[in-house]
Amino acid sequence: MADTHKEWLEQLEEQSKAKQESFMTGIAKKLGRSRVTEPPAHPFRGAPDFWRTFQWPLEERIERFTDHFKAAGGNVERLSNLEDVKAFVVKLAADMNARYIIRQQETELDSLGLEEALPEANLSVWNSDPTENWKARAAEADIGIVMADYAAAYTGSITVLSAARKGRSVSLLPTVLIAVIPLERLKTRLGEILVQFDERGREQLPAGIHFISGPSRSADIENDLTIGVHGPGIVYALLVG
Amino acid sequence: MKVSLFITCLSDAIYPRVGEAMVRLLAKYGVTLDFPDVQTCCGQPAYNSGYWKEARETAKTILHAFEDSDFVISPSGSCTGMIHHYPKLFEKEPEWLDRAERLKRKSYEFTQFLVQVLGVTDVGAVFPHKVTYHPSCHGSRLLGVKAEPMELMRHVKGMELVPLPFAEDCCGFGGTFAVKMADISGAMVAEKTDHVLETDAEVLVGLDMACLMNIAGHLRYRNEPVRVMHLAELLYEGVSR
């Protein structure tokens, strides 16, 4: 019996590695051949060829993203610069009477100066103090503010990647989510974003990659659409540029 | 050029008028059908129930009957579809497998032959009635016979073709399924019949007497006076006016 949790995990790992060998040998045997250990040629990798060159010009990307995101129940605003973003957030927070706001620790969001503009609200910045319970801060927040790493017009999706300064909870636990999307990050297809993760390679991937395509929803009761089941029920996508 | 009629059990024993309509209609295009009377059943009841040994015995009579034919025409997408299963049925008997492949390539469902081979889409029929069409599953899904009957019906003068709601849904026949799972099958044919009645059509037309016998049987059970016909009958009646 292992003494510490770490030792126990190590024991499990040893068993797992042995089992992995027998598992793979078993699969190869059932497939009627010896183990494949070299990468096989994969002639069908990814989307069909006709799809790979498909591109919308910027204005159409904006239009389609807006249509699709709205159709899913989200809100979209087209803004010219970060000044406008600031004004929009300040007004929304005031209108909603938001008391707790949480945002990611990112340069663009730092530059908004929301702390000074919203003196009444309790505004916290993700992981600005490593000793704080940040999940609890996100859970109590009325509004969470994030920068989108990418967006895809075809599906109406925003992509957010996790990092020390970018919590997964910020786009998940607050009642309202605001995602700021610089226009140069808005792609046409999902595949343009996904392929970048292959290119980065395993070691460079963050723990969490999340595609968000509107407010949380469910149709589990009589196929009747309900918005805001577990995640944010109100989502704003702010297209900037 | 030897063009043979594969009459199928149901048209042979119960609906000879369907075979007759096919024979007389094709004669107008210079195709005098040959009828090898050593033919029996395609073997589908045994095949579908898992009795492949028995299905092979039956299939051999068909392979034998149409050995010398250049084209084999049937009034049923399902029975022609069964011939498409012959290569699988004989996959372990090379001497029969080759004959099975050959028969598969020369077998046509009636409208397939008319449209694809003879190039006929307008037989010059007049049929001044309100008609709805049930596309049988095996013909439309497994043989891909979708456009051919539509083309033929589009050219029938005076005929009002009303779309059947949920047309592509199975009528519930399924061969032995209708006997083994009689209550499920009964629920399915009742629903199909409801949809037929919703159209207010005088005539229900199709390409497979098994499905049509099923729906006609339920229409009769409910005392509904909708006339049920094979498309070959309708076209022949339409040119014989």
Binding site: H5, L9, S16, R35, P40, P43, F44, A47, P48, F50, A139, G156, S157, A164, R168, S169, L172, L190, L194, V195, D198, L205, P206, F211, S213, S216, A219, E222, N223, V229, G231 | M1, I14, V23, A27, K28, G30, C41, P45, S49, G50, Y51, K53, R105, C137, L142, C170, F173, G174, F177, V179, K180, M181, A182, I184, S185, A187, E191, G217, H218
Partner: protein
Amino acid sequence: MSAGKAVVRPGTVKERADLALNDDFLRKAVRFTTERLRGGKQKAAAEHGNWDEWRERGRQIRLHTIAHLDYYLNLFADNARANGVHVHFAETDAEAVKLSLAIAERRQAKTVVKSKSMVTEELHLNAALDSIGVEAIETDLGEYIIQLAGETPSHIIIPAIHKNRYQIAELLSADAGEELLPDTTILAGYVRKKLREKFLEADIGMTGCNFAIAETGSMVLFENEGNARMVTTVPKTQITLMGMERIIPSWEDLEVMATLLPRSATGQKLTVYMSGITGPRREADQDGPEEMHIIIVDNGRSLQLGDPEFQELLNCIRCGACLNACPVYRHIGGHAYGGTYSGPIGAVLTPALQKNVAEWDDIANASSLCGACYEACPVKIPLHDMLVYLRRRKVESGHGNRMESAGMKGFAAVAGKATWFKGAIKLGQLGQKLVVRNGCIRIKAGPLKGWNSYRVTPSLPKQSFRDKWKTLSGEVQAEAMPLSAETRSRMEQLVREREKGGGGHGGHA
């Protein structure tokens, strides 16, 4: 919470179907939802365009991955481990349960929050956790409802498809200890509030896995509610149970799956959330699990490997489109199938995952073989053919129905010889005299009992087609037109092409 209360159901698919057929509400509820989902799927597929090319692409990716499963699964395991995941392998359901319980005990877990996972349903993991005093809480709205009801999911995607809002309001009111109105917003609002607390206090988050990306060791989840994100973000430990066939090679391949899965399941362009999780939280991260386990489960899946008739079953991406398209499912609902998986995929998967042929009930018979499942399937699994193969295997292994076997032998004897076949028709023409009234047969006894309970059978005409042939042939010969030169040459061309191996004119492979 009663975790996985056993529900006793009748033994045969026929008996279970009868229960459903007599439950008018259930039939209406299932029909209503499947029709909407089916319509949504058709619309989404048409809107996207080139649907068959995408299906074919999806099929090829799945075929390729399964054909090299030892390579890709091994790669996935190595990469996930390099990401810091504790990877485990379970050949059987018992092993998978044992591993899950051992982790829960080690973590001294009191509660486990779960997002939707069909694999854990297969393993009856909730009951197992309950047996060691760990509370397992389903957090998908539909799953939470059926867990309260002590039932199992009756649809892969919409677990509570068979319940209406009044039944749901009753269940949730009992849970809340106060009366909740049967209003979707109120009911969902209650569950949000209740489960929010559970997410924040749970020790373990447990998930299934839609896809696992071999090249980076990432696992991908598709969902709409956000509960799967909760489960993988908030608790300190994450356990993912994954079927060994869930692999795809790359993120690029995920684009194809992300195109096919949501459209086929619900008609959405993409589910509200698609999350790719690559290992536990990084050192400096403030959320995500500190410890992450992935248990790779076989439990009968590898039985399909190397079996040319069933290997494609492993291509399934669990979208539920075949359930929504199936006319049988629509009438009998999911519970009539008697296994974890229902509908056409369940009718094949349930027996296929079990070794013992003798124990299969007649589930494979609950299909009219109409092929709607194949047509709806985003990766083109020929389920209708597989159902026939299952029936054949049962017969070949000597577990066929004795009456039916005798009948089929008789059928082959008659249909194997034209003279006997003619004789049989003759016999029918004579024999029916006893039962024919006004040109039809209404007797509800003997072999026609089930059939005639819903239909009137036509009588056989005096002359069969072959009886008429001679006369007919003579008449036609006399009046036939000549075959045009153009048609003749086209026909000759077709015959020549056929001899060269061509001559395809529709029909599936």
